[in-house]
Amino acid sequence: MTLNAYLILSTLLFCIGLIGVLKRKNVLMLFFSTEIMLNAVNVGLAAISKFHGDLSGQMFAFFIIAVAASEVAIGLGLLILWYKRTGSINLDDIARMKG
């Protein structure tokens, strides 16, 4: 397969994630969407790294995975706390910062 096929896959995944971020009202789904976007980038990085024979792209992908994991851990923790308080994880209910 050519590099292009991987990059197209990466772009498609990224767009799916982006649409998820824009459309979904459920915060849990929002998290999934951001994970998809991050992994879309990972696919691109890994593919380019392979085709260029340079390992630093793959190392970068590992970093992103680690960072995403910790981010999700914190995010989910907050989400659980929020659910316990309000009983809802709908984005439209979280509007306390209205200016």
């Binding site: 982006l18 971020v21 824009l22 209205k98």
Partner: protein
């Protein structure tokens, strides 16, 4: 020896800072005594330095720290103790020590007692910085420092409107002169690349005459502001609003002589431009007679002495302008002693008379204030220039210098002024201490000042008597740095004739004043004469300044305020502010607090940014 330099310089600062700690409190006698003690320490250190320089002829150079160093600019915070500056240090510290002690008595019932001593010591520190500096930049710091302290002290009773006004007047007038000094400094640095006295005066000869002339003129404008020479003279008489010991220290003995010091210090520059020197001498002679004539008719005790100070400063500039630099410095020293005593005596009289200043309401005080009367009479004799008191030696030399320089007209003016000086000094003495009593015993209870107050005046009075006797030692001493000068054009018999003629006119002035005021003084209709009105209104110069400078300037300021400030600047700023406010009002709907819509906006922004980057990279030629 370096440590004495530091002690002399910083002891007054320590005193000032300690007194400042108590500045918001009521009177604490400790601050007065502590600052006086610090001044005494500084005085002893200065005397030590004087004897050191006198015996060894070593010039001390001390660099406190690197101050400005950038590229070729190098201005250290350095001090020099040479023959000239050590003389100035001695005079400043001796007079100010005595003035500090005198002030303890003078200010004893004032609620700003501690504040006063803090200012007074800060002044002495600035003055020492001024005279000890070894470059123009540090001199300028001292120059401005004394200006600020003078402002603080003239306006010491700032609740009185006239005092606040006089303080501002003095400060603003001095700014005019300071512009001259600053420009001179810029010009010196621009053409010579240094501000150190040593380098500047070594290389000054390499410049074109026109540049030197400009530097000389601009430096003298600075000196004119500080030394209150015409036309910047009006502030000195108004500065008498301050406490009297301040007038003695700042506006008679030290600060106003800073201008003379500057010219004496820059002698190597003025030697090259004798025309400017001659112009300085002419202005000095004019101020001498101009101020003396105003002193003749004034009835305000302190103003009479202030005009006398102006007149004597004129004398000093004549000597400095004609190249007799040590004579100028000599007159500066003797004048500091007798004039400060005169002012301190005036302070005693004011104290005794409940701050009355009008000499028409005094008279016959001799019996009640014997010591003050005797001391002030001695100082007046010294001021008049009668042998063998200090004023005789220095003033006589100035007259000789004028005669020797073929400036016979200047000599004539100074000769007349010598007579006027004698007359107005004794008019003051007669009106205050002798003659009829012009106040009622019910309203006033004059009393002699306290013992220590008189004791503080005695050393100065003694110096006013004997300072002239050290003329030859003084000449030997200061001419190691200053150019020597002697009356070489005239034979010794002429010198003797000059001395006799000058003494004659001085004695005639005294005798005339004594006889005239013993017999009741001048008649009433004398006061209606136009010349009297002209003199007592100070030649209408203050009115002239008021009508032709202050008022138009005020009108201009009002116009600028109404048109430029309010209509242009304020309007612009207000419009900008309201524009931003409106934009904010419009944009606040974005902040709905909804995360989902925020995310959408964020994505929109991202896409817009990407599109912009794309467009720019395609069409903008960004590489």
């Amino acid at each position: 020896m370096e440590k004495y330099v530091y002690i002399a310089l910083f002891a007054p600062l320590v005193g000032s800072l300690v007194a400042a700690l108590f500045s918001m409190r009521g009177k604490i006698a400790f601050t007065g005594w502590f600052t006086s003690l610090m001044l005494a320490v500084s005085m002893i250190a200065s005397l030590n330095l004087l004897s050191f320089v006198y015996t060894t002829d070593i010039v001390l150079n001390v660099t406190l720290f690197e101050w400005m160093k950038a590229g070729s600019l190098n201005i250290p915070f350095g001090f020099i103790v040479d023959h000239v500056s050590v003389v100035m240090m001695t005079v400043v510290t001796v007079v100010s020590t005595m003035v500090h002690i005198h002030s303890i008595g003078y200010m004893e019932n004032d609620e700003g007692f501690n504040r006063y001593f803090s200012y007074l010591s800060a002044f002495v520190f600035s003055m020492l910085v001024l005279v000890m500096s070894d470059n123009f930049a540090v001199l300028f710091i001292g120059w401005e420092g004394v200006g600020v302290c003078s402002w603080l002290l003239i306006g010491f009773w700032y609740k009185k409107e006239s005092a606040a006004w006089a303080a501002n007047e003095a400060f603003i007038m001095n700014r005019v002169g300071d512009v001259g000094l600053l420009l001179a400094m810029f010009l010196i640095y621009w053409s010579l690349g240094s501000l150190q006295y040593e380098e500047v005066f070594q290389n000054i000869g390499t410049l074109e005459t026109s540049t030197i002339t400009w530097i000389g003129i601009l430096l003298f404008i600075g000196a004119m502001g500080k030394s209150a020479q015409f036309p910047l003279h009006t502030w000195l008489a108004d500065a008498m609003e301050g406490p009297t010991p301040v007038s003695a220290l700042i506006h008679a003995a030290t600060m106003v002589t800073a201008g003379v010091y500057l010219v004496v210090r820059s002698n190597e520059l003025y030697v090259l431009i004798p025309e400017v020197g001659y112009a300085i001498a002419c202005l000095g002679a004019f101020v001498a007679i101009f101020a003396a004539s105003m002193a003749l008719v004034h009835n305000d005790m302190k103003r009479i002495i202030a005009y006398s100070t102006l007149s004597q400063l004129g004398y000093m500039f004549v000597a400095a302008g004609l190249g007799a630099y040590w004579v100028a410095l000599f007159h500066l020293v003797t004048h500091a002693f007798f004039k400060s005593v005169l002012f301190l005596g005036a302070g005693n009289v004011m104290h005794a008379m409940n701050n009355e200043l009008d000499i028409r309401k005094m008279g016959g005080l001799h019996n009640k204030m014997k010591s003050t009367s005797i001391i002030m009479t001695i100082a007046s004799v010294a001021l008049a220039g009668i042998f063998p008191l200090a004023g005789f030696f220095s003033k006589d030399k100035i007259l000789e210098a004028a005669f020797n320089g073929d400036a016979y007209f200047l000599w004539l003016i100074l000769w007349i002024t010598a007579g006027l000086t004698a007359f107005y000094s004794f008019r003051l003495v007669m009106k205050v201490f002798h003659g009829e009593q012009n106040y009622s015993n019910d309203d006033f209870h004059p009393h002699e000042a306290k013992g220590f107050v008189i004791a503080a005046m005695v050393p100065l009075a003694i110096l006013a008597v004997i300072a002239g006797w050290f003329e030859f030692a003084f000449v030997d001493f200061v001419t190691k740095v200053l150019p020597s000068w002697e009356a070489s054009n005239i034979v010794s018999s002429t010198v003797w004739i000059l001395i006799l003629v000058t003494s004659a006119v001085a004695i005639a002035g005294i005798v005339y004043a004594v006889v005239k005021y013993r017999n009741g003084g001048f008649s009433k209709d004398w006061e209606d004469k136009s010349i009297h009105k002209l003199l007592s209104n100070q030649y209408y110069i203050p009115q002239f300044y008021e009508n032709f400078i202050t008022k138009p300037y005020h009108k201009l300021s009002v116009w600028v305020f109404n048109v430029i400030e309010v209509k242009i600047i304020d309007n612009t700023i207000e419009n900008i502010a309201s524009l931003i406010k409106k934009t904010g009002g419009k944009a606040r709907v974005i902040q709905s607090g909804n995360l989902s819509s925020s995310l959408r906006l964020m994505v929109l922004g991202l896409i817009l940014g990407l599109v912009l980057a794309l467009v720019l990279s395609l069409f903008g030629g960004v590489k």
